[in-house]
Amino acid sequence: MERNLSMIALFAALIAVLTLVPQIHLPFGVPITAQGLGIMLCGTVLGAKRGALAVLLYLAVAAMGLPILSGGRGGLAPFFGPSAGFLIGFPVAAFVIGWIVERWRAGIGTVAFVASVFGAIPVLYAFGITGLVLFATKETSFATATAAMAVFLPGDILKAVLAAAITRSLARARPQAILSRA
């Protein structure tokens, strides 16, 4: 219990630290950050339930007014903005990634990569695109929003590679810390 709690708090803080790493802004206001890497690691290391809880903790603390969302934003306003769909999708993505790593007992590096790609691309994009479309007016179609997401693809695949490499190294150095495989 205490261990789960401190690990969840640690990974929530990890997302915050990775989000504040220097980043690039896209013209339509959704920035590229290492935040996704943090979300992936929550799933691959902590597993489904704890990973999702860590992401929820991060979002809750951001909503309470700490400037730890991308671009140094925080507070309640981002949850009413165009990227709200992504924020809602984050815990779901971490859950899906953790669920795959828990169930599929092949080599952790491969599994972590496949799970991260699946959770961070189809699952998270579905939430993000729905958010963009619901937020925008009828004139913005799913097709345009989906096309706009293509700019994120290379970065997200790179992040999945990093998440897999880090998870594999952690599994070697601290096997007991990989709660998803405990």
């Binding site: 709690l5 401190s6 690990m7 640690l10 630290v17 700490l66 309640l76 913005t140 150095a173 810390a177």
Partner: protein
Amino acid sequence: MLSLTSPIRTPFHRIPAGPKLLALLLVAGGTMALADPVPLAALLLAVAVLFAAGGAGFARHGLRVMRPVLPLVAVLMAWHLWLRAPEAGLVMILRMLVAMVAANLVTMTTRLDQMIAVVQRVAAPLRHIGLRPEALALAIALMIRFIPVMSTRVAQIGDAWRARSRRRPGWRIVMPAALAALDDAEQVSEALRARGGLS
């Protein structure tokens, strides 16, 4: 770590967090019911007047936190002009601005400990599915503390690297930093258990 709460005291600081959050939800929900730019603009004006009531310094701070949204507003308007639907664009931008300005007003006038208290109260029914509000409050405090701890660890490992090498520390410090962070979390959990744990 800096919080977004404004240091400038306003009458809104004295209103309890719960009613403020409820009012925010009503305003944000209300904007979805309005589809005409005129009442939406009036609503935006009303929220702006609330900001102005906090004093000039407070209102300036409120404008400053909205600055990152301006390029987005410009892109959205350009996009809707190109679609020849300026009114739809205006409605969308006004809805967004009303909700965001009102949300900033709540964030800037509510202290972090008040927010934590609200979360604790709202989370109380989750006790039945095994999430204890005390554990949640502890997790929030721990996470906020872990952010500077982790940054310090990365800086220390970077310093140690620079003491040994003339090359810049790059990805090579990622793993030691990750392991140090994991060990910190283990130590915290042992310390919690040693002090009686979460029972």
